[in-house]
Symmetry: C2
Subunit: 197 residues, 2 copies
DNA sequence: CGGAACATGTAACTCGTTACATGATTAC
DNA sequence: GTAATCATGTAACGAGTTACATGTTCCG
């Protein structure tokens, strides 16, 4: 249900084609809310049907076409309403901690591989999120600069940057926490393994 | 896809009816991998169809019946294979951090309510997980005690407890991290609000 | 005899995943 | 001309959510 609001957040800055939107998406909000192109196109059509966005079909060369989407006042209001509404949290569904709770059923080596995989996984996320943080600090993210160009109000610009930085800081801390936990996990496997022999 | 392994983990300890399984589930693995009863019953039927579990239909009074499920050797092996296989991570889809990145689009009060809701949410999780940790320490969790009764090997018992404790410690730390982040968020809102006036 | 707990589901729907399908235009 | 990139999707499936549906047995 959040996908459409992620899309609205990007489109509110200015009109984009489905293609451009999908590209921008993976480079910004996609780090927080993943969605493949094959989900974005149908969702845009659905939002169009509900009057949240409108598409202007443009010719591209002889036979090519593209649909430029822009947010309607209804869509704008829907986004603002969502922002002001209580957030719906998903129920916890955490495969890594589920598995961790049953590691006694496998070999020490498999347990080590699990924790090493966990570290790799979160290192990967960390790189993405730290990269985004750098882009935010340096104002080198394309969506962010478009967003900042759209306003002259210095306060709004400041808050825009502050909240984006803050959001990614939270994600970075989470990744660091997972990595630290998994490293302690490796130590635990070693210790239990040593005790057993 | 993890649901069936969560179910197998519980059933491996000993036979249970769908009803008992669902109850045990919410009190143990359900804290890590949520699933409603209406998902558990069909999944058991599906697993039965795939030969991972078998059901023994028992009479209960005159007309009542219940299906006692137990794990087959195939199911046992499937669980062990899963434990030794690389874990499939889900793509990040984090509504809270998505919203946090766009808080400049709403009022300071709505931003505060968001962070307060975030704190409430994770306080709730924290209570669950700290409760589980206490049950683990005190050996007062019914599934855990059944699990421990099933083995006499002191090493296995020790590791069983150690990994469960470790898994829940990780969850508790995550919850504490989210709460700390949201508290800093409240301070940020105040600061930006003060700067703006 | 009435309510709590036991017991097992179905149906409709939304969201997300994976794989596939197709063609146009631009830059070299 | 050919490869990269632009551009837009569909189809089938699996997982999860919400609401509903139904009946039994045990305990006081």
């Amino acid at each position: 249900m959040s996908l459409r609001y992620a899309l609205l957040a990007l489109l509110r800055v200015g009109p984009l084609s489905g293609y451009d939107l999908a590209k921008q998406f993976t480079q910004s909000v996609g780090h927080v809310w993943h969605a493949p192109d094959s989900q974005i196109y149908p969702e845009l059509r659905k939002m169009e049907g509900e009057g949240l966005v409108e598409a202007e079909e443009q010719a591209r060369g002889e036979r090519g076409r593209r649909r430029m989407y822009h947010v309607t006042p209804t869509g704008d209001q829907a986004f603002l309403d969502w922002m002001a509404s209580p957030l719906e949290y998903q129920r916890t569904r955490d495969p890594a901690h589920l598995r961790a709770a049953y590691l006694e059923t496998t070999t020490p080596d498999a347990a080590r591989e699990f924790f090493e995989g966990h570290i790799r996984q979160w290192q990967g996320e960390l790189v993405q999120w730290e990269g985004e943080l750098t882009h935010i600090e340096m104002l080198s993210n394309p969506m962010l600069t478009r967003r900042l160009e759209a306003t002259t109000d210095e306060d709004v610009r400041k808050r825009t940057i502050a909240y984006k930085r803050f959001a990614y800081e939270g994600l970075v801390e989470h990744a660091l926490g997972e990595i630290a936990w998994a490293e302690r996990g490796l130590a635990l496997v070693d210790q239990l393994d040593a005790d057993a022999t």
